[in-house]
């Protein structure tokens, strides 16, 4: 019993998730910048891909990421109503609600998350990355499935 615990703990330390995070230029990317300016620390597990609006993120990018063995994907944008392009994130919401259904079918839904982050929510950004990374750590590497 004890041994099992130890080994799983060891695995926790060794497994460093690889996560892709899509950010829109106007809010969530700015929120990520603010996390930096405020020096809020979070795990070095994400690679941010900047797009102009969360409405640019194709569901195919998420599937592609999983195909390429990326352990988790985050899509972030402005809060509903704040989108710099008026209504872009409303389409994002629709699209990813639909994608989640497919991901559920594939057993991948816990590896994906859609979040709204404003330019003043640096703290929230850092916390999101921390909790999501922990979540993925618990799930283990994707190729294990």
């Amino acid at each position: 019993m004890k041994i099992v615990e130890k080994s799983s703990k060891k695995q926790d330390i060794e497994f460093k998730p690889n996560i892709v995070c899509f950010c829109c230029n106007w809010c969530s990317y700015a929120g990520a910048d603010l996390a930096g300016v405020s020096r809020f620390q979070y795990p070095a597990s994400i690679r941010i891909i900047r797009v102009m609006c969360s409405g640019r993120v194709e569901p195919a990018f998420i599937l592609k990421s999983f195909k390429d063995n990326i352990d988790g994907v985050l899509v972030t944008g402005c809060h509903i109503g704040d989108c710099h392009y008026i209504s872009g994130n409303e389409f994002t919401k629709d699209r990813f609600e639909r994608l989640t259904k497919i991901l559920k079918f594939l057993g991948l839904e816990d590896r994906f998350r859609l979040e709204w982050i404003s330019a003043s929510e640096g703290k929230k950004f850092a916390e999101l990355i921390t909790t999501f990374t922990n979540q993925i750590k618990k799930l283990g590497p994707l190729n294990n499935i």
Binding site: K16, N18, V20, N25, W26, C27, Y29, A30, A32, D33, L34, A35, G36, V37, S38, R39, F40, Q41, Y42, P43, A44, S45, R47, I48, I49, R50, V51, M52, C53, G55, R56, V57, E58, P59, A60, F61, K64, S65, D68, N69, I70, C78, H79, G81, D82, H84, Y85, I86, S87, G88, F91, R95, S118, A119, S120, E121, G122, K123, K124, A126
Partner: protein, 1041 residues
């Protein structure tokens, strides 16, 4: 005599300076500056504090959309910072003004920052090492502390630190200098002295904003207690980057308060010891703060103590209703007598009178937020003196006339924003565009004379897409900001090994000007066709590097930036190994994208320098005149047979000293006689095609005369109508139950005999408005209109009995509260509530026509009185024909049917569709003063386009691959800017020809958001610079090695 006058005028034109001084860097000054540069003027923007942004930057969210305030403001601040034609002088003050309209001489004092603005990179190393944390943080309303070397807030513009000379150990005690030792950029300069700068400008705009009165409040408001704070302090507490990181805590014990009380009108509308006017914005921001509080913690209880509820803007009243219905915020119609502290718990006991039943009650709250009066900024009297302009009795800057609030009494000096009188953000933004228009009307002969045009001497390199990519990579240490936490040399070694990377170098500061030179040298030496900089954030620095690339002959879309500071080294300060790996990955992903980058063209579109104004009311007339005056042909279309709109139906204009016809006449005459103006009466728009700069419009005049015109910009100024109440209060049957407009028409009659038989008149306000169903909003102007008419009637017939029945009195803005107090003597004011409407019954053969029965709250019973004439104040509504126009222009209407602006806060007079603007009551019910200011603004927004001759389109747009397009139109459905059109094309297949539908993107309208590309079922749309292939390549590159 006349000759000499003429010659002096001419020499004055020669003497005009094409530059403008803007004093104050809040949203008013920012918007005015941006508009002015687009109109062709150089701007000197002088701000007293170390950063621009003003009050708006301090707000957490904005009503009624709950937009994050800084999110929408910061891009504008950065735009100012980067604009080559705005000279930004922060931490500076104007100390002397001489000269005259068209040519002023200005002396400006620049206070020492002790930090060299050109050298400081904003890294913050100095502040982290500065030993002194004692200075109150002014930006956080003194709630937190900061170092003596500091930046006001993280997004400050310019992003430059400064030393607080009162706090700095070295400046006061001669010891320390830690910052000087730590600063790798060598930006600290203790030798800096105050500096005087002299400039010359043609006009001056004053936009110095407001302060929130707090410590000077009378004792009964309890501000001296720890847990009584002002609403601006509360904004900082709510803000995620505020003193408690967005946790709602009270100051005494930093615990979450359970019961929170908001007190409106704390110290304002008080003619004895407080501030006599209404600050106009408090009702709304208090509702907002209560809603956000509930969002933070649903279990908290929010109580709002209100007097009148003044929710007069678009969606405002509905917002206050939502606060109650959806969020459970409780409103008390009350008068506060005193707030005292319970010394043990530090809770507050609020003693108040409930105005619904006249009883005195107590309420205990854990935290109290006061909506204290907003007053002219400290030092505005001094500014007035320096500028030689007047202030009014409330200490706001005095406007030229009630109807020209954007001008001061001194020619060439203009007023904008809260420093002239209470305003909310959208009104301020509209005024800022209006004031820019005023300046432009004055200085248009010298437009474009002082603008810096960027000249690129190196011709653009031709890139063949078959050419092998040759990528240059520059990796920045940012002093120690990146270098300390990321192993930069290791990253360099790794990136060098990647295919297509021709050269990789690192340096200390990529943003310095000598770095720009070396980037250009690298591009030339290695004949690079792509370039990457890995440093800080593209949000502030991408444009700089793009320009450098352009100067080296590289198309700016061949540049890519990687953020390894804000999003890597700064957030992984304890994870050097992982951080270094992340930096490598990020750059490798950028290299993958870079290989696929293509040069993009920014095409130029010609602009037809003519404007179309739809609607000939006061807004339309003002807009038309302003545009015509600046030399552009203007077409004015009016559906009626005469110009003037609603003013033709009014007797006297507010406040009741001048006949509406007399007020209107000079404007109509000027429009009629101006050679640049074409008037189309009895006409309608029947077709609009085209896009910004190039609209084809068909105007049809009665009798089917058709005119085709071509214009570059369109202003919608179609006005609004008064609601005809039909069934309410038996309006249809009773000839003595009339609307306010009908009363005005009666008053317009030469013969006032009708008044002889009338002994008593009752006005009923809020008829069919501010209710749950039907018209839900407050129509803004009815209250002041009713009071105006009461005063007029009293003058005409002093023994007339006048009664006014109201729910809340909308007397916001400067002067209206006083106007109301003065009018009180002329009528009996009685309050009613929505659940107990007054009842009107006909009297039979009595002395009077009608009996009115009303429930009186204080008496708790019905009272009865009699009147001969009943005036119903019904709301302004959007006319039916808006629908047609909205379809033709492809612009939306809001839920009440008025036209919907592009953004309720920051683009109040623009439509989302470029080149179409909005003003007057077509946007929302407003009075003459507001309509005129807004019309000026709309004219200004249009002038930016008309004056530009040609327009540059962005390269970041969508493009349809025609062969893949199946013409389903899904892309057009999701485009928020109407940039996609379905067109028919002919396709020939061997021997037969088909007509097929295809989508076409108008790059003049496309903003490059990319939503259409995702929607396309057939991958027929390429989003340039963020293409499917490019993003896919980035994902692929991540785990490749």
């Amino acid at each position: 005599m006349s000759k000499s006058k003429k010659s002096s005028q001419k020499s004055q034109t020669d003497d005009l300076v094409g530059a403008v001084l803007v004093i104050g860097g809040g949203i008013a000054g920012i918007q005015a500056s941006l508009d002015l540069t687009e109109m062709g003027f150089k701007v000197f923007l002088v701000e007293k504090t170390p950063s621009i942004g003003g009050r708006m930057a301090q707000l957490d969210k904005t009503f009624p959309t709950n937009d994050c305030s800084l999110c929408i403001l910061a891009p504008k601040m950065v735009e100012v910072f980067r604009n080559p034609n705005i000279e930004l002088m922060t931490y500076s003050e104007v100390i002397e003004v001489s000269g005259h309209v068209g040519h002023f001489y200005i002396k400006i004092l620049k206070k020492p920052r002790y930090v060299d603005e050109d050298k400081c990179t904003g890294c913050g190393d100095c502040a982290s090492k500065c030993p002194k944390i004692e200075a109150p943080n002014i930006f956080d309303m003194n709630l937190g502390k900061r170092k003596s070397i500091y930046i006001p807030f993280p997004q400050a513009v310019p992003p430059v630190y400064l030393i607080d000379s009162d706090m700095c150990l070295f400046l006061n005690k001669g010891v320390c200098k830690v910052c000087e030792r730590i600063c790798e950029a060598q930006a600290i300069n203790f030798e800096q002295k105050p500096e005087e700068v002299q400039i010359e400008v043609g006009a001056i705009i004053v936009a110095i904003g407001f302060d929130m009165l707090a410590s000077k409040l009378p004792d009964n408001w309890g501000y001296k207690y720890e847990n009584v704070i002002t609403s601006l302090e509360y904004e900082r507490i709510l803000c995620a980057s505020g003193p408690f990181e967005g946790h709602v805590l009270r100051l005494s014990d930093e615990k979450e308060p359970q019961k929170i009380a908001f007190i409106q009108c704390a110290g304002s509308r008080d003619f004895h010891i407080g501030i006599p006017y209404c600050s106009s914005v408090c009702c709304m921001y208090i509702a907002k703060e209560a809603i956000i509080t509930k969002e933070h913690s649903n279990s908290s209880e929010c109580y709002i103590f209100r007097h009148d509820l003044r929710a007069y803007g678009k969606n405002f009243y509905e917002y206050t209703q939502r606060a109650q219905d959806e969020y459970g915020v409780k409103y008390f119609n009350s008068k506060i007598s005193k707030i005292v502290e319970d010394p043990e718990t530090k809770d507050l006991i609020i003693h108040y009178e409930d105005l619904n039943d006249g009883k005195f009650n107590d309420l205990r709250a854990n935290l109290v937020i006061l909506a204290t009066p907003l007053v002219p900024s400290e030092g505005s009297e001094k500014v007035a003196k320096i500028l030689g302009i007047n202030i009014d009795k409330y200490k706001f800057f005095k406007e030229k006339t009630l109807y020209d609030k954007l001008s001061s009494e001194r020619e060439g000096i203009f007023l904008c924003g809260f420093c002239q009188g209470p305003l909310d953000i959208p009104e301020t933004v509209a005024d800022a565009s209006g004031v820019a228009n005023k300046v432009s009307t004055l200085l248009y002969p010298v437009r474009n004379t002082l603008l810096k045009e960027k000249i690129v001497s190196v011709p653009e390199k031709k890139i063949n897409l078959e050419d092998e990519p040759c990528i240059g990579v520059l990796i920045c240490h940012c002093g120690i900001n990146i270098g300390k936490y990321v192993d930069v040399p290791q990253v360099v070694e790794y990136i060098k090994t990647l295919p297509n990377v021709t050269v990789t170098v690192d340096n200390l500061y990529s943003c310095s000007s000598d770095s720009q030179t070396s980037i250009k040298e690298l591009i030339a030496e290695y004949d690079l066709n792509r370039f990457i900089v890995a440093s800080c954030t593209p949000r502030t620095h991408e444009k700089l590097f793009q320009e450098t690339c352009e100067e080296a002959g590289l198309n700016k879309y061949l540049f890519e930036m990687v953020n390894i500071r804000d999003q890597c080294s700064w957030v992984h300060m304890e994870q050097k190994v992982d951080g270094t790996k992340k930096a490598k990955d990020l750059i490798e992903m950028a290299v993958a994208k870079s290989r696929l980058l293509k040069p993009q063209k920014e095409s130029k579109l010609p602009i037809t320098p003519e404007a179309l104004i739809i609607g000939g009311g006061i807004s339309g007339l003002i807009a038309t005149l302003n545009i015509a005056k600046q030399g552009f042909t203007t077409h004015l279309v009016e559906k009626e047979s005469q110009l003037g709109g609603n003013l033709n139906n009014l007797y006297q204009i507010f406040p009741g000293y001048q006949k509406a016809s007399e007020f209107l006449e000079p404007f109509v005459n000027k429009v009629k006689s101006h050679s640049n103006i074409n008037i189309y009466l009895n006409s309608n728009i029947t077709e609009i095609r085209g896009y910004i700069g190039n609209y084809d419009v068909i105007i049809t005049t009665k009798g089917n005369k058709v005119n085709n015109i071509k214009v570059g910009a369109i202003i919608v100024a179609t006005g609004a109508n008064e609601l005809i109440p039909e069934t309410i209060y038996n309006y249809k049957k009773e000839k003595n139950v009339i609307t306010q407009l009908e009363l005005e028409q009666k008053l317009r009659k030469e013969n006032l005999e009708w008044l002889d038989n009338i002994k008593s008149i009752t006005f009923i306000l809020c008829v069919n408005s501010r209710q749950k169903e039907g018209i839900t909003y407050c129509s803004n102007i009815c209250c002041t209109n009713a009071l105006k008419n009461i005063n007029i009637l009293k003058k005409l017939k002093p023994d007339l009995a006048l009664i006014l029945i109201y729910r809340d009195l909308q007397m916001s803005k400067k002067g209206n509260e006083e106007f109301y107090r003065d009018s009180r003597k002329n009528a009996l004011f009685l309050r009613y509530s929505l659940d107990k409407l007054p009842i009107i019954s006909k009297t039979k053969n009595g002395k009077f026509n009608y009996k009115i029965t009303l429930f009186e709250h204080n008496l708790k019973g019905d009272i009865e009185f009699y009147s001969d004439l009943i005036i119903l104040a019904t709301p302004m509504i959007a006319p039916e024909n808006f629908k047609e126009l909205s379809k033709m222009l492809k612009v939306p209407q809001d839920q009440s049917g008025f036209f919907l602006e592009a953004h309720v806060k920051l683009r109040p007079i623009d439509f989302a569709t470029d080149g179409v603007f909005l003003c007057g009551c077509a946007h929302w019910p407003k009075n003459i003063q507001e309509s005129i200011a807004q019309a000026n603004g709309a004219a200004g927004r249009a002038i930016r386009i008309l004056g530009a001759k040609e327009m540059k389109t962005s390269g970041l747009v969508a493009e349809v691959i025609e062969d893949y397009c199946i013409g389903c139109g899904k892309c057009a459905d999701v485009c928020p800017y109407n940039a996609i059109e379905l067109i028919e094309v002919e396709k020939t297949f061997e021997d037969y020809t088909l007509r097929l539908k295809k989508s076409k993107v108008n790059s003049a309208l496309c903003k490059g958001c990319g939503t259409c590309g995702v929607q396309c079922p057939n991958s027929a749309i390429i989003i340039k610079h963020f293409s499917f292939k490019q993003i896919n390549a980035m994902i692929e590159a991540y785990l490749k090695n």
